[in-house]
Amino acid sequence: MKQKSFALALGGLLVLIFGLWLCAFQVRQSEVAVVTTFGRPTRPITNADWYVQAPWPIQRVWKFDQRVQNFESQLTESLTRDNFNLLTKVYAGWKITDPAAFFPKFAGTSEPIADAEKVLTRLLANATTAVVGKHPLSDFVSATDNGTNFVAVENEIFAAVQSQVRANNYGLDIEFLGFKKVELPEKVTESVFERMQSERKVLADKSQSEGEAEAQNIRSDADRRAAEMLANAESQATRIQGEGEAVAAQYLAVFQQNPDLANFIFRLNALEVSLKDRSTLILDQHIPPFDLFQGVSTNLLKP
């Protein structure tokens, strides 16, 4: 009997497991699901848990990945408001939010995600073209605006696509969106290169001539300052000499006591200093003391 009940328990367990395999399913946090009854969606599931279903072919479970999908649009050529051709590529993150709405639109095919992305491609291309056309090129590339316009353009595209997606009730949501590429048409790159080439030439010439001009400035400035310095020194020297002369003039009062004698002494000094060395004197008997030869003024000799 013991063995029989063991066998029964074992059998029961197996039936239970088989039943679970057949009638229960797990929906993960990363998934959403739709249960169809005879092909018609009857129960959307968005919460992670385990659920019971009637076995196939009565009910069937369709699970979808509800994680954020990465999506990139094609390069889209559009005209900016100021008539520049701009190629843009946009990336977006989207996910399935409403399996009940998503299922009837896309689940008929073997690749529901790829199908949904086809729709997104179309929506994104339209939205990008429309939004880019409303902005000048300077909203995309600018050295001054801190990127606020760039972000604003992205947000506008985002809002446009999101509203389209919601209006059509695709059962999905755009989570985020941004530019992946902002480029110019191939033809235009050629002319950009030409322009850059000439810009470079201008820059090279500019720095050459600026350098020379600046160097010239430095030199002439140096010359000017040197001249100024010398002139200052000259005037200072004159002033110093003037001071000296002023001090010397104070002694004038001393000489004033007897100008004749002062004059006489000065002249004697001058004579002595000027004939100090390397001089040749040519004398005759009129110059003292050689007038002695002449015998004049020798009153002392005449008794």
């Binding site: 993960r28 941004g178 110019l184 720095s207 003292p288 050689f290």
Partner: protein
């Protein structure tokens, strides 16, 4: 089984209890049932074991795993992660598990701003030939704020901070990081002029990329932390010479400027030396003049009383004394007496300006 029915009489199996065979046919049926039943039993036990064993799984050295109970992760954050080894989870549909990449360093590269280059060329360090234009599909580039074209690429290292978010909220979070990086790169390039981006503010450009990618990743809540990023930017290959010539011109310019500065230094230091020597000279002149006059005045004061005693004699005496000194000091003295008849006499001289070689010898 039918070829050995007799054996059961001899050795009744314990499992059969005390059943008494009615006849050979029913006995054979019972035999068959019994043995197939035991086969089924073994199979059932095997199935149950298999079912339980399906809960075991292994985690490899480069990965980690998360157990999902009723679809939801067991545990939070790092605690939910199972390391390498063998693990057990309850069988489906109660538990299931998901492998996640090791929460270590991850790396993405953004090359949307770089020209098409094959891995072989990259390794060899050679550049593909640059045509006259850039095909937007093949060759990547970034537009700068002044509508110029540059090539720039960036490598970003990041760490998975929230593996549950990383794995369960994004089909491919690494692609999302890549997209954010691409976006940050063109965003940053669009707000830098070509010269700032390439030369003047390389660090600022890198900072802007980093700031933008951080902001985008934070907004999208990708569950990663950025560790570092490195940016490389070059001018278009087609314009390399033009860009080089600008650099050369700038080098040249600083050379010219340096030369000018050294000239400036030279001129100014010479002028400063000259002017100080000029003022020093003036100073010494002044001192000499003042001293000179002072000593003369002194001398005058002393002489004055003597002069007043006998002016004529005093003058005569001073004059003669001085003349005597003058004549003594004079190098050559020529005395020409007046002709007796009072006529003019002619004197011829040859003067040599050459400096005498022995000035010392003449002093005494």
């Amino acid at each position: 089984m039918a070829d050995h029915p007799h054996s059961h009489d001899v050795l009744p199996e314990p499992g059969r209890g005390r059943e008494t065979p009615i006849d050979a046919g029913s006995q054979a049926l019972s035999e068959a049932l019994h043995s197939s039943f035991s086969v089924i039993k073994v199979a059932m036990v095997f199935l149950v074991l298999l079912f339980l064993a399906s809960g075991f799984f292994t985690v490899g050295p480069q990965e980690q795993a998360i157990i999902l109970r009723f679809g939801r992760p067991v545990g939070q954050g790092q605690a939910a992660l199972l390391g390498p080894g063998i693990h057990f989870s309850l069988p489906y549909p109660i538990d299931s598990h998901e492998k996640v990449p090791v929460a270590g360093k991850q790396e993405v590269r953004s090359t949307i701003g770089w020209y098409a280059v094959t891995p072989e060329q990259e390794l060899a360090g050679t550049e593909p030939f640059g045509g006259a234009s850039l095909n937007p599909v093949v060759d990547g580039y970034a537009l700068t704020a002044d509508n110029n074209i540059v090539h720039t690429r960036v490598t970003l290292n990041y760490r998975i901070n929230d593996p549950i978010r990383y794995v369960f909220s994004f089909v491919s979070a690494s692609n999302a990081v890549q997209n954010a990086l691409d976006n940050a790169l063109i965003y940053a390039a669009a707000h830098y002029t070509v010269d700032d981006l390439l030369y003047r503010d390389v660090l600022g450009f890198r900072e802007t990329v980093l700031k933008r990618v951080s902001a985008v990743i934070r907004d999208q809540d990708l569950g990663v932390i950025i560790e570092q990023c490195s940016v490389q930017s070059v001018p278009p290959r087609q314009l390399k010479d033009a860009f080089d010539s600008v650099l050369k011109a700038e080098v040249n310019r600083s050379k010219v400027l340096n030369e000018a500065r050294s000239y400036e230094n030279q001129v100014l230091s010479k002028a400063s030396a000259d002017s100080s020597s000029r003022t020093n000279l003036a100073e010494s002149d002044r001192v000499r003049l003042v001293n000179d006059v002072a000593s003369r005045a002194d001398q005058f004061q002393k002489l004055l009383p003597k002069y007043r005693e006998n002016p004529g004699l005093f003058a005569q005496q001073r004059l003669t004394e001085t003349l005597g000194r003058v004549y003594t000091n004079a190098q050559e003295k020529i005395f020409v007496a007046e002709a007796a008849d009072g006529k003019t006499r002619e004197l011829r001289g040859l003067f040599n300006r050459e400096t005498p070689k022995k000035p010392e010898a003449q002093k005494p």
